[in-house]
């Protein structure tokens, strides 16, 4: 069995947790599975990037890389304001929140992908990132996802989820997104 779980934690400017949601991820997307097929077969596939353009994947070292760097909003965990229902053919967030301090923007901190752990029946690791709101106003987050390399400098959307309830991030507050990728016997 394969589980993809998410958790989002919202804090105010003092670091107090004011909202939290955890759930089962709606889905890996076509970019992930087509990319996986490419690496299984050794035959590079054409995958639609987050700009809507088909790109021939890199089946070697960088494919799936999704540990986002600070200030980069084109790979790693990402957030947005859209709430269009997820389909497997989605190739980007509905309305991504960009990195910055302007209206409707949030600061993207460095993401981290943990080392895997193995329990009695599951192997798991996490892809985590925090976003800070210093825009001067609150921002409402409705969707989250994971962007990763297709082939440098092109990125694909591997995962997208619409949150069960919109999360309002107050000015000075933050949101942390934690995806847990787990395979169970």
């Amino acid at each position: 069995m394969n589980d993809l779980l998410y958790e989002v934690i919202v804090t105010d400017k003092h670091g107090k947790v004011i909202d939290r949601e955890a759930g089962v991820s709606r889905s890996w997307l076509v970019a992930y599975n087509k990319g996986l097929m490419g690496t299984f077969s050794g035959s590079a596939q054409t995958i639609v990037d987050i700009g809507g353009v088909g790109r021939t994947q890199d089946i070697t070292y960088s494919f799936f890389s999704s540990q986002g760097l600070a200030n980069y909003d084109n790979y790693g965990a990402v957030i947005g304001t859209g709430n269009t229902a997820v389909t497997v053919s989605d190739y980007k967030l509905d309305a991504q929140i960009g990195h910055g301090t302007g209206a409707g923007q949030m600061l993207y901190l460095a993401g981290s992908v943990s080392s895997p752990t193995v329990s009695a029946s599951a192997s798991s690791f996490t892809n985590t990132r925090q976003f800070i709101n210093v825009s001067g106003d609150s921002i409402t987050v409705r969707e989250i996802g994971i962007y990763g390399y297709i082939k440098s400098p092109y990125y694909g959307c591997y995962v997208r989820d619409v949150l069960g309830a919109a999360k309002v991030i107050p000015d000075g507050g933050a949101m942390t997104v934690i995806y847990t990728i787990s395979h169970e016997e």
Binding site: M1, N2, D3, L4, V24, S25, R26, S27, W28, L29, V30, Y32, N33, K34, L36, M37, T39, F40, S41, G42, S43, Q45, I59, T60, Y61, S62, F63, F64, S65, S66, Q67, V86, T87, V88, S89, D90, V113, S114, S115, P116, V118, S119, A120, S121, A122, S123, S124, F125, N127, G148, I181, S182, H183, E184, E185
Partner: protein, 193 residues
């Protein structure tokens, strides 16, 4: 919803007639698959990676990003990677690193002749995006072979681009392959939103 895998089985006799046809949900990706995926997501390239897992020879290996990280497209006669089958029915465990009793390539007792392993992208249909991995194995051993376990070994890499082989999936399936016959195993790996 999410990532799903199914195993389709066709067992055929010496005349090519299908005598058993089954399909079921795959029991398990095992730890090796998730560790290789983690290495790719981390872009793990450090000399002493934190990600270690046992290869199919039970050697603990430090995994790094690889060329190509999940290769399963094994040529005929190669049982180091691709779909493999075995004769042991020990229950699946997340920590397993190899089939318990893999059938090797050949025409001796309990051996099978492995054909090439192929992967096919099926596309997006009815809300699912799927591909298949399939392989046929022929029994020229002179006696029936009792297959009890099926898995996928993947070719990956460690530091220095040295190839290593990791078990990604293992499932139990009890099937008798008649002498002169064979088996075709088809894994369908799909995502459903």
């Amino acid at each position: 919803m999410g990532l799903e895998a199914f195993i389709g089985i066709k067992v055929f006799d010496r005349d090519g007639k299908v005598i058993i046809r089954r399909k079921k949900r795959s029991r398990s990706f095992v730890r090796g698959f998730n560790h290789v995926l983690c290495a790719q997501m981390r872009s793990e390239t450090t000399p002493a990676p934190a990600i270690q897992t046992r290869d199919t020879s039970n050697v603990n290996q430090s995994i790094r990003t690889a060329n190509s990280p999940f290769w399963a497209d094994a040529p005929a006669g190669n049982t180091l990677y691709g779909i493999v089958v075995g004769t042991d029915s020990t229950p699946v465990d997340i920590e397993q690193y190899a089939l318990v009793a893999k059938c090797t390539h050949g025409s001796g007792a309990n051996q099978l002749v492995y054909q090439a392993c192929t992967c096919t992208w099926l596309g997006v249909a009815a809300g699912a995006a799927s591909f298949t991995v399939d392989r046929s194995m022929l029994n020229n051993s002179g006696a029936p072979v009792a297959v009890e376990e099926i898995g996928i070994y993947i070719e990956s890499a460690k530091l220095g681009a040295v190839l290593i082989y990791i078990m990604g999936m293992r499932d139990l399936y009890s099937l008798a392959i008649p002498d002169g016959g064979g088996i075709t195993v088809t894994y369908t790996i799909g995502i459903v939103a």
